[in-house]
């Protein structure tokens, strides 16, 4: 395989289903690979490779960080996994199944996950005005969240501007 294809999202509702999808394309279900899948199924939000390698703080056996990265990449090629860049800090990985997009707050870094359709009106506006088809699944929409907007009435932010 020479081309690094980004496949369409592939829904698998269990590790075993995911393993099946892997085998269908001649990929193997190694222990390390299963561990990555288990971490992603066991998490309630996107995970850094680091957290996966640490086995979700001990809930799973730890594994080698380089292998975790390679497996996340493989799983992403297959379409089982997707990653996001939520501002600074490491990339975060999650199961690809439900098509999610992200809004993050520039000030407090809170993340809001929304279903893709919820952004259709925004998408239409941008498409009509600029011809761009915005996508907030890989890079989020960044702005000030409602909380930080109200806080910034009158006085400036006091968090370090980790910009």
């Amino acid at each position: 395989m020479t081309t690094t294809h980004r496949s369409p999202a592939l829904a698998a509702t269990s590790v075993e289903e995911a393993v099946e999808a892997l085998r269908e394309r001649g990929l193997r279900a190694s222990a390390a690979r299963r561990l990555v899948l288990e971490a992603l199924y066991g998490a309630d939000g996107p995970l850094s490779a680091e957290r996966v390698a640490e086995g979700l703080e001990g809930r799973l056996p730890r594994s080698d960080l380089a292998s975790v990265y390679r497996n996340l990449e493989t799983l992403e090629e297959v379409g089982l996994v997707r990653h996001v860049h939520l501002g600074h800090g490491p990339g975060l990985y999650a199961l690809a199944a439900p098509e999610h997009e992200y809004l993050v707050c520039e000030s407090c870094h809170a993340v809001r996950t929304v279903a893709s359709e919820e952004l259709d009106a925004v998408r239409t506006q941008v498409r009509e005005q600029f011809g761009y088809e915005p996508r907030f699944a890989h890079f989020p929409l960044v702005g000030l969240c409602p909380d930080c907007i109200s806080e910034s009435h009158g006085h400036e932010e006091r968090k370090r501007a980790h910009s």
Copy 2:
């Protein structure tokens, strides 16, 4: 100075004017600092610290990378400079003067710079629907540009998905 304030944009239309602004807050106009300013004035778009340190490929004397970073930070605190994260790759720095925001293409990485007001309709849509006040000056709006949309009709992209 303990707080790392993000100052409002400060317009300076020449290196000398910028130097003046520096001196007003007790900062010095060192050679290295002027060099950074000259690079930014001499460039036609946002620059990486690396390119500044290399003196725009030889057009200016090269300088120390760590100092360039420190100076960019200082200039940003003063409000003369602003930086963007256009997808992957290093952060890019530009003079702060005109309030710009960015649209970038997820596929071909083309960058479109737009005046802030042009995004007001989008901003209103997002604010009304989510309460977020989107800002595309520090992290851009990411999507598919018109060219890549038409190209992707029928066949998939062939660039490496440097995601």
